[in-house]
């Protein structure tokens, strides 16, 4: 009998060995796969209610977790939400996360793999888990200034960056929204706010329109044509371009008109300087037809078009050339060359293109994150300029810069001039169908010989006069403000 009792005990112990094994599997070996399961919202809820790191701008928190009395121990709170909504994004339990809140989530929640020793320390000391704070490259004064330049009701975007480092100094867009609405602990309130916000035209919950929204670039795209032309060897700085008032396409009824404002109509032959100063259409259409679609695409790619992988660290919508049309016929290529047809860009893409020209052809990776700090404010990583790609040669960059300077000095971007500073710039006016309204662009940098600041302004759906007033003069003010710092 005792042997049977002992055997029964052995069976019981074996059963217990099995459950110890299954517990070990669940709580040790399968932890990562269970935590990362798409249906597991625990980690999210854990983060949602935990002491997440702050997002800092100029030393001040623009997003921070404030202790509450409820079971959800911290409430994410945004100060100045309208000004920073497009950058910080929001952290919601039910509606997801966007912007920096999403792209830097591991650092902010303290769950990144390099925070492992922090977590061990928390376990040993019993401290509440605490995330790391993320400091942005944004200059709050410039950010505010840029934001105020966009009139309410105009869905514009402004990007100010350092062309030599890629650090984004300001990035704003309107309309904006109150991110606090999306971070509420009340799921019903969040879903009501979300329903309302997604219906408002121009609001993009995924991030600022400056890097998530695509617009027709219009004439600022002519910088791509110019770079492609010089790179091909078929053109040089002294080339004389055809500048007809109308460009007919044999076999079709389509004719491409030259730019109706400015001086284009005064001559039928043009230098690059003249064509750029007056933003003439037909010379660049001619270049594109001469070089072919592939050469233009190649140059566009070198400026960062069609790149789905860029993150600042929030994901940037890829700009498109040639866009949805794929293989372009003659008229389509001509229209694409002047930034119409289905060419689409983000304002950030234009800023990156101009920055590459400013930086001797080397495109720096744009970035919003200046530093990541531990709860005791020790920086664990800090901003290091990163080369993204070589967009063009230093010679071509220098040549285009020279022409862009004359656009501001003698051409249609005169309003961008800053006393005592050599400003390089280019405007764009992309027609939106037959509405008579345009996407009005300015992109440029200064000082031309030692670029410190790049400014890109985009004001959609405005008439020509309003566009001219909202772009170049504001660029001048922003350049001046940044250079004064």
């Amino acid at each position: 009998m005792n042997r049977a009792i002992r055997n029964s005990w052995i069976v019981a112990v074996a059963l217990f060995a099995l459950i110890l094994g299954s517990i070990t599997y669940v709580q040790f070996f399968a932890v990562d796969s269970l935590n990362n399961n798409a249906n597991n919202n625990r980690q999210l809820m854990q983060n949602f209610c935990s002491d997440r790191g702050a997002i800092l701008v100029g030393g001040q928190a623009v997003a921070e977790s404030v202790a509450t009395d409820s079971s959800c121990k911290f409430q994410r709170t945004y100060t100045d939400p309208y000004l920073y909504a497009g950058l910080t994004g929001f952290f919601s339990k039910t509606a997801g996360q966007t912007g920096i809140e999403y792209s830097m989530r591991e650092q902010l929640s303290g769950t990144s793999s390099d925070a492992f020793f922090d977590r061990i320390n928390q376990v040993l000391t019993g401290a509440q888990p605490q995330g790391r704070s993320v400091e942005l490259t944004i200059d709050p004064a410039i950010q505010k200034m840029a934001y105020d330049m966009i009139p309410d009701g105009v869905g514009g975007s402004i990007v100010v960056m350092n062309p030599k480092t890629g650090a984004i100094i300001a990035m704003v867009s309107k309309p904006s929204y109150d991110t606090n609405l999306m971070a509420s602990h009340d799921a019903n309130a969040v879903s009501a706010a979300q329903d309302k916000l997604v219906k408002e035209p121009g609001i993009n919950l995924n991030g600022s329109s400056a890097y998530t929204q695509l617009y027709a670039p219009g004439s600022v795209f002519k910088l791509v044509d110019t770079a492609a032309a010089l790179a091909s060897g078929k053109y040089n700085k002294d080339s004389v371009l055809d500048n007809p008032a109308q460009m007919p396409f044999p076999g079709t009824s389509y004719t491409l008109p030259n730019y109706q404002y400015g001086q284009c109509y005064t001559q039928t032959k043009a230098t690059f300087a003249f064509a750029l100063e007056n933003s003439c259409n037909t010379p660049f259409a001619g270049i594109a037809l001469n070089l072919g679609q592939d050469a233009i695409t190649k140059q566009a790619d070198m400026f960062g078009f069609n790149d789905d992988t860029l993150g600042i660290p929030s994901g940037v919508t890829a700009s498109r050339f040639p866009g949805v049309d794929g293989k372009l016929d003659g008229p389509e290529l001509a229209r694409s060359a002047i930034g119409q047809q289905s060419v689409l860009v983000t304002p950030l893409q234009i800023a990156m293109m101009t920055s590459a020209i400013a930086n001797g052809g080397v495109q720096m990776k744009p970035d919003l994150v200046k530093a990541v700090r531990t709860p005791d404010l020790k920086a664990v990583s800090s901003f290091t300029p990163e080369t993204l790609r070589t967009s063009t040669t230093p010679e071509i960059a220098r040549q285009i810069t020279e022409w862009m300077v004359s656009v501001v000095d003698n051409g249609i971007a005169r309003a961008a001039a800053v006393p005592g500073v050599q400003v390089a710039g280019k405007t764009g006016t992309a027609e939106i169908g037959d509405t008579g309204l345009n996407n009005s662009w300015f992109t440029g940098f200064a000082p031309a010989n030692d670029p410190q600041v790049e400014v890109t302004i985009m004001m959609p759906k405005v008439d020509v006069a309003t566009g001219a007033q909202l772009t170049s003069p504001n660029a001048s003010k922003l350049i001046e403000a940044v250079l004064k710092k």
Partner: protein
């Protein structure tokens, strides 16, 4: 003093020391809940801690007076587990979005259960008395098992199983008590009839087959298991009853043939159950495909959320009050193991499992030491039943086996389970006292193996 045989010492002081440790574990766990959930230490905390201490000490004194030689580990282990359970249930009440208030009821039941255990230990001076009630126990078991099906007192279908009765404000699972009465019946029946069962019957090869008429009680046990499954939809209890009987008949006969027959019956029964009963079939499906889209939000939700919780706790746990165990349905009863795994981590859950292991091992030790066949069988049955119950529920929660709704001994919220398990403590203490008590030297010493041949 130079005897070769070691004389068992009462070890009551050791029990008291361990009891203080056990009390400290439970009370400090509860204190952690207060601290981590930012609650002030209210009168509830002090009164509840005092109640737990007084009850445990009362039980200890009862053991001193009435079961001086009882195993000193059993009571502290039970107190520690019960204390942890109370703390975790309190923590789950505080974290509940729907305002659960299982804590006070659990305190009430704990008090009642310990008092009943004291009474059992006090009045049941010799466990062999129970042998007289062999067939009454069988009757009682059948009645207890039928009660949830009786209109008027049945609490109906709760979470898919008809195992509850309602008496005024209280609900009760009579099946919990039936485990004890069935064990008493099996022990009584087998200790009386084991010689017959052993010696009669055909022999085929190495297998000694039982006579058909000796198969009677086995068939009864099988029918009881199947009945529970068919009428009450309670797979876990069904398996538990059958396992209980299997072990007891094996201990009684030492015949592996019985176990093989039993396992075959179980396989046949299980296969039939899967194909006949949709709820069993569904449980198996959910178990195999818990993470599939069609189950993850429906039938598999409970077990999957439990696993997510345990993974969230990982090795060290989130700390009591810092996890989110309330996401899991039935977090304070069926799934309390997942709650503990999340907040106390793998380390904490291992500690709990080790306490269970200690508990059933001491019960087996009592069975080994018992000097009568009835005591041996009862203790072995109760010990194995307890271990099997832990295996079925913890294995279910960790997705080792399909999840079935069994209570987690001493931890889960629920009065019937507490009551049954505290009576179990009293019975094991009683049997271990008999096992360890030095044989009175004034009467001739019986050969050790007379009853345990």
């Amino acid at each position: 003093m130079s005897q070769l045989l070691t004389v068992n010492k009462p070890r009551r002081t050791a029990e008291l020391g361990l009891l203080l440790v056990a009390l400290a574990v439970g009370i400090m766990a509860n204190a952690l809940v207060y601290i981590n959930m930012a609650r002030r230490f209210d009168t509830d905390f002090y009164s509840q801690s005092a109640i737990l201490a007084v009850l445990s000490l009362a039980m200890h004194i009862c053991v001193r007076l009435r079961a001086k030689y009882a195993d000193p580990i059993i009571l502290p282990v039970a107190v520690a587990l019960n204390g942890i359970g109370l703390a975790v249930i309190h923590r789950l009440d505080l974290g509940s979005a729907t305002g659960d208030n299982a804590g006070p009821r659990q305190w009430l039941w704990t008090s009642l259960a310990v008092i009943v255990a004291i009474a059992v230990l006090w009045f049941l001076k010799d466990h062999r008395v129970l042998r007289r009630y062999t067939y009454i126990s069988l009757m009682a078991s059948v009645l207890l098992l039928l009660m949830p099906l009786v209109p008027g007192i049945s609490a109906g279908d709760v979470n898919g199983a008809t195992v509850w009765i309602r008496l005024g404000p209280f609900t009760f699972q009579p099946g919990e008590i039936a485990k004890l009465t069935l064990a008493v019946f099996f022990a009584g029946y087998l200790s009386s009839n084991r010689d017959l069962i052993l010696l009669a019957g055909k022999k085929i090869g190495p297998l000694q087959l039982p006579r058909t008429r000796d198969l009677g009680p086995m068939v009864v046990a099988w029918l009881a298991s199947v009945g529970v499954l068919v009428f009450q939809h309670d797979l876990g209890t069904s398996v538990l009853f059958f396992g209980l009987f299997m072990v007891m008949i094996y201990v009684a006969t030492s015949r592996i043939s019985w176990v093989i027959i039993g396992l075959l019956l179980m396989v046949v029964g299980g296969a039939a159950a899967i194909s006949i009963f949709p709820h069993v079939n569904k449980r198996v499906d959910v178990w195999l495909h818990a993470f599939d889209p069609q189950y993850i939000a429906a039938g598999g939700y409970q077990v999957v959320q439990g696993l997510f919780g345990m993974a969230n706790g990982g090795l060290m746990g989130t700390g009591l009050g810092n996890g989110r165990p309330n996401i899991v349905p039935l977090a304070n009863s069926d799934m309390i193991v997942a709650s503990i795994g999340e907040e106390l981590g793998m380390i904490g859950l291992f500690a709990v499992v080790c306490l269970y292991g200690l508990f059933f091992s001491r019960a087996f030790r009592a069975s080994l030491g018992a000097r009568d066949a009835f005591g041996k069988l009862l203790a072995a049955g109760l010990a194995f039943g307890f271990a099997l119950q832990c295996f079925i529920i913890i294995g279910g929660v960790t997705r080792l086996i399909p999840l079935t709704g069994l209570t987690t001994p001493f931890l889960a919220a629920g009065g019937s389970s507490l009551l049954a398990n505290w009576i179990l403590v009293a019975l094991i203490l009683r049997i271990s006292d008999a096992a360890r008590r030095p044989i009175d030297t004034t009467t001739p010493k019986e050969p050790e193996e007379v009853t345990a041949a």
